[in-house]
Symmetry: C2
Subunit: 262 residues, 2 copies
């Protein structure tokens, strides 16, 4: 245990906590910060700035959606390479030894004590904070619709990806399908369900842990990160997607959410 060192980590930030809208926005891969308590994992600055360390543009979009939808936002402040909050503690990807074409020297052959330290210092407090926001709303009779915001690299292992907006769901596809319909109708984006990957690839851990047990409607938004390259692009994407989410919720009806969630 590092005691005071890990206690002051910027693990999780909750913004707009008293928001009254129907959505709750989550951004697990918001930051490429490498806190001193864990070091830089042997990575050069180039690797620490790359998509393997975070989801570039995702936090800006998540903040925009939080504001536009009057939704709380729960975001993380530590690089996914230190701990990927969208993975359970026993998944190899939680503290990955390799990401795309990069080796992560500081994650090679991690000792059990170090896996435990990161799980306790990062994974548990992040998910406890998110769980608290969800439980508060459940107790108040307002089951939230969970929207997780991610971005993906346009080129992966040298191959171009055509999809621009991926809509990914865990067990219940209802809301993601409604978002797909509205996004196709309201944006010019190449929108696809469960691309560039799906729950079968283990990418829906946050939804599985926090939304599915309560029967909450949910979607994981995956935006190709070249479409979030600067503030102007992020702002345009926010303006495009906020009405899509609202229309998708109207499409399925708020009543179904309440019924499913008990």
């Amino acid at each position: 245990m590092t005691g005071t060192t890990t206690k002051t980590l910027p693990v999780v930030t909750t913004e707009n906590r008293s928001a009254r809208g129907p959505f709750l926005v989550v951004c697990e891969h918001a930051s490429n910060h490498f806190p001193a308590a864990f070091g830089t994992l042997g990575l050069m600055p180039e690797a620490r700035a790359a998509h393997i360390a975070w989801d570039p543009g995702a936090l800006g979009l998540a903040r925009g959606l939080s504001k536009a939808l009057d939704a709380p936002l729960v975001s993380a402040g530590i690089s996914r390479l230190v701990y990927d909050l969208n993975r359970p503690p026993h998944a190899p990807g939680a503290m990955t030894e390799r990401s795309e074409v990069f080796d992560i020297p500081g994650n090679a052959n991690l000792a059990e004590a170090e896996r435990l330290r990161r799980t306790e210092a990062i994974y548990l407090p992040f998910h406890a904070a998110l769980h608290a926001e969800i439980a508060r709303r459940l107790a108040s009779g307002r089951p939230p619709v969970i929207v997780t915001v991610h971005s993906f690299t346009p080129v992966y292992f040298g191959k171009n990806r055509k999809v621009e907006l991926g809509l990914i769901h865990d067990a219940d596809p209802t809301f993601a399908r409604a978002v797909l319909i509205e996004a196709k109708a309201r944006t010019g984006l190449d929108c696809r369900l469960n691309e560039p990957y799906s729950a079968a690839d283990g990418v829906t851990h946050t939804l599985r842990l926090q939304a599915t047990p309560y029967g909450l409607h949910h979607v994981m938004l995956e935006i190709r990160n070249d479409l979030l390259a600067d503030d102007l692009a992020i702002s345009a994407m926010t303006d495009g997607l906020a009405p899509v989410l609202t229309a998708a919720l109207a499409r399925i009806g708020t009543e179904t959410n309440r019924k499913a969630a008990i």
Copy 2:
């Protein structure tokens, strides 16, 4: 908020934390304690001692199994009538207005602020503590088999229940079915799957929140409480069920647990 008052509540106790066995035992309805911060809900002592307030005998059995199986035990220290930890915050049963033939005056028409206070003071810390124990074991590469221990009343709404041992599962029936086979072979109990109730009745919240998202093997043990009437009976039940659980795990193989859990 009651501040210091709720901070000192006996919400959760973790025993045998450094145990090395494959199981993790949970007892949500261990106690019929009514802390001063919440009062006695207008109930007479008779009602506060009845099965509606707790699961009589369950804690003794859970402790026995924890010892026999070298398993950690996470138990609650507050009556289920103040907050039923096996229910999500928006379920009517979480802070129920009525249980079997008893009205619960202190739960009638609960204000949103009081639902929120109990959720934050009881539900969240209990499940955070349980989640921490599970995550620690996952980080150490030892996904635990979750065993929740409950007891039920032999007479419900005036009707006798014949079942003596109910084995209830959430999404994955694998382990519960193995326990059924071994319990039938090794005990003289009337054993049944998903009786006297099942996941469809909303009784598997703890498993759904804590075991299913990680693909952990699990079972909810429901023992008719006349079979746990005193220490001798509890000890005999412990001696009967501990080898049943061990044999059931051997039957399904530890490998399936590891595979399912990633």
